[in-house]
Each structure stands twice: as C-alpha cells, then as structure tokens.
C-alpha cells in the first residue's frame, strides 16, 4: 500500500487511543499554536522529538509514520532550501521541524481516533452555530469526505502516472494531469450520487 496522509484509523488500547476525541482535537489545536508561536531551531527539534515520542507511544509503527511524511517531503525540502537561502540554517531547521512535528501529531490523532468520534466532536462544537444557519452534520460529513478523498486521489494519481508511463508519456504533463483531473471530478460526482442514493444529506437539510 502506498503512503497515505491521514485518514487511517488503527484500533488499539494505548492511553492515546482511550483519550476522548475532543480532548485530542483540543490538544492538537493548542500544541499547534504553541509550535508555531515558539521560535527557534532548538524548540522546533524539541517539538519534533515530542511528536516522535507520541508516534512511538501510539504504536502506529515507523512505516505508517514515514508514509504520512512521504506526502509532504517535497514541500519540506523546498521549504528548507528557501529558508536556508533566505534566512540561514537556523530558520530552515525551525520551519521544517515545526512542519514535520505538526504532520506527525495530526497523524497520531487520526491513527488513534475513529473518524466517527471526530465527526461527533465537530458536530457538538458547531451546535451553537446552528442559529447562524450552519449545519453541523453537513460540516462533519464534508470533513469526513475530505479525509476520505486523500488516499483515493493518491491512488488515482498513481494509476494515471502508470498509464502515462505505459504509453511512454511520463514526461508529458498533459498526459498525467488531464486524466487525473477528469477522474478525480468523475469520482467526486459518483460519490455525490452514492450519497444521494443512500439518503445521506436528506435529513441534515
């Protein structure tokens, strides 16, 4: 199985698994703010160490953690190069350390928390916005679909790349991008049809 960013719950019995989803979401939010607010390469490496500690604790295994990072490796490399060039190595370490720490922390959350529980938290938190016309169930479902779409899109991208390769067109961006976009849109439409056919969304209106 190829790398997939987020969206893959692994059942388990660690303390992290048993912690309520709301607590974990709030924790991620707070730590996220702290990670961004505290400056300097040393603290960035500290946050990264903390994230790696939680990865180990969650029992998800190094392979899953690496798979999660694979998705942002290119971005991290570009970011590091740019920061090092513009502001020196200290800033590069800080930016990349923060980024990797945040992705790993988010991955720990998704690995240890069933999506159903995350949806319930989102629905509960958004309840007060109901009066403003926000529909919490619809937002929660949209969130779940977005998470679900990530591995699907990666799979379609892999297939389109292989198809382009088979025709010797791997260097032609059109041969890779056009079918990818068409298939992702077609998949989104088919998912919409399937949701409608299951009556999902009918009650939340």
């Amino acid at each position: 199985m190829r790398g997939q960013l987020l969206g893959d719950h692994r059942p388990g019995t660690t303390w992290l698994h048993r912690l309520p989803a709301g607590t974990k979401l709030l924790g991620l939010l707070v730590v996220g703010i702290v990670v961004v607010a505290v400056r300097g390469p040393v603290s960035a490496l500290g946050f990264l160490a903390l994230a790696l500690g939680l990865v180990a604790w969650s029992g998800m295994g190094i392979r899953l953690a690496l798979a999660a990072l694979r998705g942002i490796l290119l971005v991290a490399a570009l970011l590091a190069a740019w920061q090092a060039w513009q502001h020196g190595w200290g800033r590069a370490v800080e930016a990349v350390g923060d980024l990797l720490a945040l992705v790993l922390l988010a991955t720990v959350l998704t690995v240890t928390t069933p999506v159903d529980e995350v949806l319930d938290v989102i629905t509960r938190v958004l309840q007060p916005l109901r009066r403003l016309g926000v529909n919490p169930e619809a937002v929660a479902l949209a969130f779940s679909l977005a998470v679900r779409a990530i591995p699907t899109t990666i799979a379609i991208a892999d297939e389109t790349r292989d198809a382009a390769l088979a025709r010797g067109l791997e260097r032609d961006p059109r041969a890779r991008l056009t079918p990818l976009v068409i298939r992702v849109v077609a998949h989104a439409r088919a998912t919409g049809d399937a949701l409608q056919a299951r009556g999902i969304g009918d009650d939340e209106r």
């Binding site: 199985m1 997939q4 969206g7 893959d8 719950h9 059942p11 069933p114 999506v115 159903d116 319930d120 779940s144 679909l145 998470v147 679900r148 591995p151 699907t152 799979a155 998949h187 088919a190 998912t191 049809d193 399937a194 949701l195 409608q196 056919a197 299951r198 009556g199 999902i200 009918d202 009650d203």
Partner: protein, 229 residues
Amino acid sequence: MSTVRFEAVTVTAPTLDGDVLILDRTDLTLTEPRIALIGANGSGKSTLARLVNGLVTATTGRVLVDGLDVAQEGREVRRRVGFVFTDPAAQLVMPTVLEDVALSLRRTHRDKAVRRTAALAMLAEFGLEELAARSVHSLSGGQRQLLALAGVLATGPDVLVADEPTTLLDLANSRRIGDLLLGLAQQLVLVTHDLELAARCDRVLVVDQGRVVHDGPAAGAVAHYRSTA
C-alpha cells in the same frame, strides 16, 4: 412488492449541438419481485434505472414509486429505493468498513453504541464482520461490492436498483453477488450484461437506443436480445 410507474417519461440532455433524446416516451408499471434491464452499451439502461430514485429527472412525464412522485418527494422515495452502482469504490465514503455501514444507520439509530451494534450485525449478515476495523481501501473488489450492498440495505429500502453491480467483478464474486441480489426480500431492478442472471428474473426489459423494445418473461426477452445483438 412496491409499484414503480413510468408515465409518459422522456429524458433529453443538452449538448453542444442541441438537445439529444436519451429516453424516448416510456410507459411502464413494474410490480414483479425481480426485474432485469438488458441492452447494449449506451442504450439507456442506466438512465431508466436512475430515474427510479431521482438521480436522473424526467424531462417530461413522471415517475412514481408507490404513488410518490420522484420529482416532488425525492426524500421519501430515496428512503424506499436503494441504489447499488457499478464501481463500489465510489460508494464507500467512510475510512473503515464498520464506519461506512454505521453512516447509513445515522438516521435510524441516533445512539452511537446502538448504531455500532446494528452495524456489526449487518456486517455479520454479509460475512464481513471480520473486516469491521479494516480500511475500505484494503478490501478486494468483491468485498467492496458486498460492503456497498450492506451499506445500502442498512438504510432499509423496499426496492433495490442495481446498475451493473457485477460488471467489475471476477466470476466467483459476480456469482456470489448475483445470487445474493436475486435472493433478497426487496424488490430488485437489475441492470446487467450477465444474461444468465437476467434469465433468472421474473421480467426482463430489453432497451435499445432509448426505447424499451421488448418486455416480458425472461426466456423470450433474452432470446430477443441475442437475436438482435
């Protein structure tokens, strides 16, 4: 059994060179337990099937399910009509097997623990309970279609419409899904290229170029299709 009625239904679609007729004026009353739609690619089978639950709307005329107009009371109709698609990948919307079936139960089972138990029971009926915690991406094609079917039946429909549900499956899996569909208590409207499966239905409609060109018992209809294909 339910009654699905088509009253003077036509479907046209806008294209760059003007409107094209996809379904010519059609009148039908479907009351048999197992109805098959067969015909060439592009003949209009999916359009007919999708009209039953409002995924396609009639340009003129109307479609009624137990007297409910699909265009007016889509929500009520969708509660009665379940739909299974060809590609199960597009129908599975949650990350894990259990969560996907549980999603269908959100309306009827508000309590989460109760919903979980009901979802597990549903999975057990389809022999999928072992896979409850698995990612839907890790399933085989046959398991995915089985799960898609479980997810649809969990909503408790009276009528099940299936649009080429076995086309992407291997022989063993398409037999399994086919047998399961024909054995259901629900009324079945089945679009298929599997003529053996169609031959086991109570009524078979042959569709060609946007028209129902033959309508009757399986043997005659399948013979008609074979002679014209």
